[in-house]
Subunit: 300 residues, 2 copies
């Protein structure tokens, strides 16, 4: 990762990523624990080259709020949840994707049953980690508050709703409001929760939590718009401008509705809004500002 600010985001992110990966390795059951296929499927998907945006965001928010790295169990849980959602979204009955980050998807390698169960187990493990490890690091009250925040972000009115709507609007005419509504749920809610939970783990004041909520919302939407843009530009999109769909899967996307140029401009505006939300909170928030710059400058 790189950034347009003077802050060394790449080094910062790499350090955090190593910490998160070590903690993920420690909390996942070993591959030789029975049932081996299930545990191999879980590890395969968790360690398949993810950007670790959500855990890095969570750790950066916690650190900025003076909480050091005590959000580490929460950061792990967020990545476990993100991984579970990808495994289930890729299933043949959902988006039917054979590849994820250039590698065969979980169900292609381990079979559909193992993929469904690996997703279920990762979601379950995520909550266990927040409560058990998070409870030790943060105390029961805070761990519970964080876990409730996460469940509300990912449930039937959050992330799962986003995936359901995403499927329901396949190959249908959509407008900008619908695309935003889908994105807000499908990716926005968990990204916002990542920033919020980091702040909550640090015991941040209400005003700081509000600022980070606004930051997370803008960042999450900017991130998803850029995802769509990069997909469209990468040739996967076969863009039918104006229909709201990309031609490949008939999915509702920003570039599908507004075209690539306007989508890029919207993402840039949102990244600026994200930065403005945390302006004045102090130098500790520089990594979060750099993350906002990164989100719109990234190439993959």
């Amino acid at each position: 990762m790189g950034g347009t600010t003077s802050f060394d985001l790449a080094g910062y992110v790499e350090a955090k990523r190593q910490k998160v990966d070590a903690a993920l390795d420690a909390c996942l059951p070993p591959e030789d624990a029975r049932p081996e296929t299930l545990h191999r499927a879980m590890r395969y998907s968790v360690f398949s080259g993810g950007k670790r945006l959500r855990p890095v965001l969570c750790l950066a928010a916690c650190e900025a709020c003076g909480g050091g790295d005590r959000a580490l169990p929460v950061a792990c849980a967020l990545e476990l949840i993100h991984t579970y959602s990808l495994i289930h979204d890729d299933l043949p009955c959902m988006d039917d994707d054979d590849l994820r980050r250039g590698k065969p998807t979980c169900h292609k390698v381990f079979g559909e049953a193992a993929a469904v169960l690996a997703g279920d187990a990762l979601l379950t493990l995520a909550l266990e980690v927040v409560l058990r490890e998070g409870g030790r690091a943060l105390g029961a009250d805070t761990a519970l508050r964080v876990a409730v925040e996460i469940t509300q972000a990912i449930g039937s009115e959050g992330m799962v709703a986003g995936q359901m709507l995403d499927m329901e609007y396949e190959n249908r005419e959509v407008d900008g409001d619908i695309v935003e509504c889908i994105h807000e749920r499908k990716t926005g809610r968990l990204i916002t929760a990542s920033a919020r939970c980091g702040a909550m783990a640090a015991g941040a004041a209400g005003s700081v939590l509000e600022a980070l909520t606004a930051y997370g919302r803008s960042l999450g939407l900017a991130f998803q718009i850029m995802d769509d843009v990069l997909d469209a530009e990468g040739g996967f999109g076969d863009l039918k401008s104006g229909s709201g769909l990309d031609g490949d899967k008939g999915k509702a996307t920003y570039p599908g509705v507004f075209g690539v140029d306007r989508s890029r401009a919207t993402a840039a505006g949102l990244a600026a809004e994200a930065k403005a939300s945390i302006e004045g909170l102090g130098g500790e928030f520089a990594p979060l500002a750099a993350l906002a710059d990164f989100v719109i400058s990234r190439r993959s």
Copy 2:
């Protein structure tokens, strides 16, 4: 439900069931909340005639330990989790069942994608309910302890492991140890957790918790053996005695290994063990003893 003791189990269970159903109705999102299909699928499966064994067990354990009905949110969560597991187990890529309790399975009515997501959302909601409502009723420390207990019972070394092993051993020669190992994980762990969580919600002493753990283990295995026996006797089994399999799905079952008569005797022995575990704990435990009798005398 009926029982062989003088205690009126049927009336007791009916009263608890009504309480649980009302609480489930209150915690599930309304059907007209967006995405409607998802919320309809969740409610369809939760209200499809389940026996409510796990919530009744949880409430009975809590009441016996002097906790009144304060375990109600936990009881709801246990039923939501049980429902999620049935929806995912019934999927075409898993056991591929078209009917559940005589009604079309979730994916037959709402499609596979909605069924996967409804299961995901029910699991998520279950944890939210334990933490949010349970946190209010029990305090953060106890709610957290209960939630960790549940996640450990249902994760990749508990219930999900059981389903994975159940599938891995389809159409393979099995012995009694393997069948017991599968059953213990697939249904035993959640049933044991139901009794334990009820006691934990009441703040039961360690010795009582241990007694209820032993009770739950015996009861859970007896329940599953009787499930297999009733299936086999109901003609679904097409039993190939001695192979460890029922002929219909090639599943590892008790009657498949030991025959129906010996399986019934084993279940009766386990029910007696369950009752012995709580003997001497006092009259408040009568409903739990009656439940053990019911489990081996039921006809469906």
